[in-house]
Subunit: 276 residues, 3 copies
């Protein structure tokens, strides 16, 4: 299995290259995503004006488009950024927050798929809705399980040539052919807002790192996404051991992201991937 | 007195039902309000596009409309959400941040009253301004005292059939007939931004819990609002005992919200209500 | 040298007067800037609607205009606020985030200079771009050094009659005639988002304090800006000594701002200014 062995190497690459991760993200997630990227060692830029978003996505290391706090104005910036990323070959991640539960963002997310996201990351309800199944989501809650969304995720991945990461107690990532599971984390991650959004942003940082080290023809977004999920999982578990609740979990998790290194990864994050 | 005895029961209901609390709130408060709701045990959703806001307010457990960082675009989402909440019978809370000090939000807040808020929560200057008195507010500062606003609060409550909660060193809540006072808290709460906005959001979670347990004809928003203020007050006092300043107060207060339980309430939060 | 001796006095004035600092700032910085101002002892107000921004800037103690997460809508609020501040004699600070790297904000920042900012604060790349040099910035990163921007800063200060503060490992502040350097701080400040934006907001609080204590003809924005940078530097160093990483740095720094007092300043912040 090639995936886990690369977590440490990709992490080191993030620190060496400090890839610029362009986020068009929601109003709740923006500060926390930026701080997560900085803690990891990447360089965040939150830019959503359509003109500026197109400029930045073309030169960024990776792009995140997150559909939370959707508005018609923000949708223009999302389209401009995703189109520019696609045209420039910038890896980009779609985070379809609450798609299926609310109509405008469900429509916009469907359109955004046409720009060819490198990775789609969401909870099971969101992935079911994006794949055209009945979502049953209630806002940002996941009422469906990761298993419920397995077939829809595989189908979505094959139809759009993308990696689909479904977040849950154990995450499931697929490119439509290969499937990996990632454990770890901590229940307090569900008691902190925008934790999934931060996972999406950090995944984009790993995509950027993988893209710069591998040749353009051969780089593997699935491996990079698995590594990101494993890194987040090991930091979540570490923070959960010291936190006194959801409030103190946030600084502890950011500290853990900054303290994580390639050597620790070999014994920690890698062990979370596809455990026997 | 029926109010204090229900704090623990309502808190338990919040944890069991995890009510969806829809917030149309300001840019400063959005992350903190979401984290406060998650820490308490509710489920936040920050949605402000007019189309999506109307969809969500109709099915949410409760709605918060907060006039901070007002804009003409955001005002549309506020009206759509408040109208849908009114039509669907969703309890909703109006938080008139800096009303009286700035013209657009003063105008919008006056219009929002027509949608029949279940609770209005603000500082004394804001309540005076909303009631049509001269506010004298300076931005979000309260220059008037809770006592100064007592008559205006009672009159506002009777005129609009709402509960009015005036925040101060000791909070005063009234439905125009019955008055309760709630103490507790800590001076550091005044050194953290959006603490009042978070109190509004948590009050909405208690409204949602009360609405689901009581019959639609008999539920009592005043009791629920008092319980929310008491819960926040006891957590504020607890966090103040361990915090080293306003920065460490925030995670300590969120941890205290998550640690609060029905049993502790009986001896803590209840004692803050209408002390002799 | 008059600058350092005034840090403590200005800090005491901030606490006594709690100046209202009006911020038209970016979506990432808004909560953190508000909390930094509250921790220091000032009173933040985040208002960006053009009508409300003009009202508030005319009566505020100071104004900050920050070009991060620029949009055409937000640019209107920036112009309205800066114009009103200029007309009313309210001191105001321009923070040209990522100017030079993105086109809309570079255009808007150039226009904003016409409203006569009291202070311009940015990193070297941003100051070079604002002065008309090739910035070479990559989003919010500073690729140029403080020394690289020294001539551009002096020229910008003289041309617009403003103070220019260039942030770096050692900050350099000039009014085009006198130059001061301020050390201190901690490397973790570069791992927390919107730290520069918070420095801008705190500088505005010191401007407001200086403006109220000195006669209108004689007050010295350079001295006030130096004092603010020294206060931030001493708090950064203090927080860095106790923080376990970028996550725990944030509450530690806010606690340090609140704990800072005029007496400590004499031995701490003052020593950071123009060391031999």
């Amino acid at each position: 299995m090639t995936a886990p062995s690369r977590t440490g190497a990709l992490l080191d690459t993030v620190r060496e290259r400090t890839p610029l991760v362009h986020c068009v993200t929601n109003l709740v997630a923006t500060t926390f995503s930026a701080n997560a990227l900085l803690a990891l060692g990447a360089s965040p830029a939150m830019v959503e004006d359509p003109e500026e978003a197109a400029e930045l996505a073309a030169v960024a290391g990776a792009l995140v488009v997150n559909t939370g706090t959707m508005s018609r104005a923000r949708a223009e910036g999302m389209h401009a950024a995703a189109r520019a990323a696609h045209d420039a070959g910038t890896p980009w991640l779609l985070d379809p927050v609450a798609v299926g539960a609310l109509s405008l963002r469900t429509h916009v997310a469907g359109e955004l798929l046409a720009h060819g996201p490198t990775v789609v990351r969401g909870n099971a309800s969101e992935i079911l809705a994006l794949a055209g199944e009945v979502g049953g989501g209630r806002g940002v809650d996941a009422t469906a399980t990761v298993d419920d969304a397995a077939d829809a995720a595989d189908e979505l991945a094959r139809r759009h040539g993308t990696v689909v990461a479904v977040s849950g107690v154990v995450d499931r990532l697929t490119d439509g052919r290969t499937v990996h599971h990632v454990g770890g984390g901590h229940p307090l991650m569900g008691r902190v807002t925008a934790m999934g959004c931060a996972l999406g942003a950090l995944t984009a940082a790993f995509l950027a790192a993988a893209r710069t080290t591998d040749s353009a023809r051969e780089w593997d977004p699935l491996t990079a996404a698995v590594a990101a999920h494993a890194a987040v999982g090991v930091c979540g578990a570490a923070a959960g051991r010291t936190a006194g609740g959801p409030g103190s979990f946030v600084p502890a998790w950011l500290d853990a992201l900054a303290a994580l290194d390639g050597a620790d990864d070999a014994g920690g994050a890698d062990a979370l991937v596809d455990p026997a």
